[in-house]
Symmetry: C2
Subunit: 117 residues, 2 copies
Amino acid sequence: MNSDPDDAVFRALADSTRRRVLDLLRERPRTTGELSEQFATSRFAVMKHLQVLVAAGLVLVERRGRERWNRLNPAPIQRIQRRWLRRFDALAASAQLDLKDEIETQAASAKRRRTRA
Amino acid sequence: MNSDPDDAVFRALADSTRRRVLDLLRERPRTTGELSEQFATSRFAVMKHLQVLVAAGLVLVERRGRERWNRLNPAPIQRIQRRWLRRFDALAASAQLDLKDEIETQAASAKRRRTRA
DNA sequence: CCAACAGGTGACTATCGGGTCACATGAACA
DNA sequence: TGTTCATGTGACCCGATAGTCACCTGTTGG
């Protein structure tokens, strides 16, 4: 029901097996069978993961005879970095300071609470 | 089972409601009740989402009297960008070229297949 | 004190997601 | 041609997760 294309990418990245698949495909394209050998789970499970990755646009498929070559498409990862993750970069720069302020505020209010009690 | 701290972050980001919470907290800290008002779902659902975000280290909590102030911690997002997502930046730079090569290869092999059949 | 208020917990339900298997499809090659 | 091989599909199981609700805890402030 969520038609946001970024949502499919985030959900695809949520699984560690799928992230490992992307890491493997980063080196070079691989067939479905070749990928399956790298995992403890069954070939069918890996195929389902590939379906999720294809639906998110993270993997492109080329069929060659009876083989299926899976190729990485890094564009969606770039997209979510541009459209969403980078928003937090500026905040991170001052995070240490913010956190320090926060702890001091917390300690001060805790002291106030103790005093009144 | 999966003790990778990055995994908790990726799973936390997989839900669009949680991403909206982070967007709201990016502006300023907010109480649980204030956050709940922004969503169609119940206060309890939002609280569960906050628990997930806290477990992933994305949200820090400060209690003030009967209020709970939720504050964004951008560090985990920075971490997954550094440790994982940036690996794909270099590939993305040449993605257009790769895709072009791929399509040509595909067309050529399709032609070969047609000829042999 | 005590009533209104903000927040939190535990149990429960429904749905989703990951995993498996039996079986189907379609290409390669002797 | 027919057997072997790589891949794909559908149904099914089960644990995880999002959601709700009844009820509890602790705080505020008259």
